[in-house]
Amino acid sequence: MSALSHVPGPTGGTADPQTASDGGEERRGLTGYLLMVPGTVWLLLFFLVPLVTLVSSSLYDPSGSFATGYSMTWHFQNYTDALSEYGPTFVRSFLYALSATVACLLLGFPLAYAIALKAGRWRNLMLVAVIAPFFTSFLLRTLSWKLLLGDDSWVVNALQAVPLVPDDLRLLATPAAVITGLTYNFLPFMVLPLYASLEKLDVRLVEAANDLYASPFTAFRLVTLPLAMPGVVAGTLLTFIPSAGDFINSELLGNPRTRMIGNDINDLFQASVLPTASALSVMLMAAIVVLVAVYVRRSGTDELV
């Protein structure tokens, strides 16, 4: 099953495909193929073929332009050139994405736990509050962090009042602002799969651990957390992947030294530097695929694809 099958639909409920598909009988014949064809063709033409084109474009001679066209010269040097120029940006993007993912997990787990096990009759209301940010524009919400983190905002003033925090603290246009924005924007993608896992948790297992003299911490580590693992894996992937490629937060909340790889890919494409931009894009995709593969293997869940 896909990682996203853990995400409840907009109205809340999730069905468990594994148990349900056992009951239905599968029909043989041509109909299945006919139903699959239109969507599959669309995905092949506008997802897979473009990916292949992206790879081949990354090997074009870099002297061409959108207007004059490009020639295929198997110019592998595009990759080494791109890496030497944008390597640090790559590292920075992955560090920001990693920080945002960890922050999402630390904030999202208690929230998902509270909704699944502590909220009682407020559960649906809290779930609506989790998806409420999606009801309005991503860009407008990110812009509002510009106001919230601005130099004279109540957030900054409140933090400055805390002892040990310097009086000239700035948040806007710092890495902290970019990571705050990323964390904020992708937090629901962490909370929803975690909630879907924790909702299925049998509380009696935790009680049994307590009865057997496990401390609350041990019970959490040995019972709750392993049972929530599919949600943790799905949630971290769903926050890490979009964060690594994002450039909206760094553009609106950061400064030129907080640029992420998405900024460069986008700017290079807009400036019609096709080969370098394609090479960067291919490397981003490859890096993510490798990281995800290693992560999924090490976390030992077979729930993904």
Binding site: S2, L4, V7, G9, P10, T11, T14, A15, D16, P17, A20, G23, G24, G29, T31, G32, L35, M36, G39, T40, W42, L43, L44, F46, F47, L54, S56, S57, F66, A67, L107, P110, L111, I115, K118, M126, V128, A129, I131, A132, F134, F135, T136, S137, L139, L140, R141, L143, S144, L147, L148, L187, I241, G245, D246, I265, N266, F269, M285, V305
Partner: protein
């Protein structure tokens, strides 16, 4: 004192959760608040004073309302096609046998697992190579939106379809309904809520998309593209009016939908 501490201890997770929810919802409050803002300068993004002017002059900023119109048009068209194609695929995947099922699963899953900037840039590479670099616009945005909405439609409808009790369809067949009658009178009405939520999801994904649209749009300006452009040169407060209207509409749809479901399902539970 110790009673207070005990209460806090028992509810610590819930309290922390509510603080995180506040973090999630504060920006929405800011968007609503800013729709009533009377800005002192075009370049700042601060609340300077209360006014209703933004609400009475929504369409004053140049190109803003036309960009909203464009987003609605693209959203409706892309949603219509993605919902149809995706629903067909989910029926095939849950109810029919065909070869290449796991390859199809990967093909549907991958677009959701790819960063948007990669999806957008590979489409742009395709369009440039096909000689359409000069003709980017409505059509290319539409193509891109159908592509990324499709996967979300498939997983949403599939979940609903897989959750159906197969005995309902067997009962219809036992009562001499033809396959066609069973589909339209039993299966389809039961799956419809899943299709509706898939359509709502894909409209909101399409309406709100910036990264992919930005790479495939050429000169066409959608609402997110308009906000992005405005962010560079000073944001007119009317964008927050649009944001507030979106929020109220979406919230009433979701709340209304779940109330409707509750009313409908109440008698069934007896």
């Amino acid at each position: 004192m110790s009673a207070v501490r005990g209460w806090l201890g028992r509810h610590a997770v819930l309290i922390f959760g509510l603080i995180v929810l506040a973090y999630l919802c504060t920006p929405i409050v800011v968007v609503v608040l800013m729709s009533f803002n009377d800005p002192a300068s075009r370049l700042g993004y601060d609340f300077d004073g209360f006014t209703l002017d933004n609400w009475t002059s929504i369409c004053d900023p140049y190109q803003m309302c036309s960009s909203v119109g464009k987003s609605i048009q693209i959203g409706l068209l892309a949603t219509a096609l993605a919902t149809v194609l995706g629903a067909l695929m989910s029926f095939a995947m849950v109810r029919h046998h065909f070869r290449g099922r796991s390859a199809s699963n990967v093909l549907i899953f991958l677009p959701m697992a790819s960063p948007e900037v990669v999806l957008g840039s590979s489409l742009l590479a395709l369009f440039v190579n096909a000689g359409y670099a000069g003709q980017l616009g409505f059509t290319t945005i539409f193509i891109a939106h159908v592509m990324f909405c499709l996967s979300f439609v498939v997983i949403t409808v599939k979940a609903r379809l897989a959750g159906l009790d197969p005995r309902l369809e067997q009962a219809a067949a036992d009562l001499y309904a033809t396959e066609w009658q069973t589909f339209w009178r039993v299966t389809f009405p039961l799956v419809l809520p899943g299709i509706v939520s898939a359509a709502l999801l894909s409209f909101s994904l399409s309406f709100d998309d910036f990264i992919i649209t930005n790479l495939t749009s050429g000169q066409t300006v959608t609402f997110p593209m308009y906000v992005w452009g405005a962010a560079q040169r000073g944001v007119p407060m009317q964008v927050n009016v649009i944001g507030t209207i979106m929020f109220v509409l979406a919230l009433s749809l979701v709340v209304g939908g779940s109330l409707l479901r509750r009313v409908r399902e109440a008698p069934a539970r007896g």
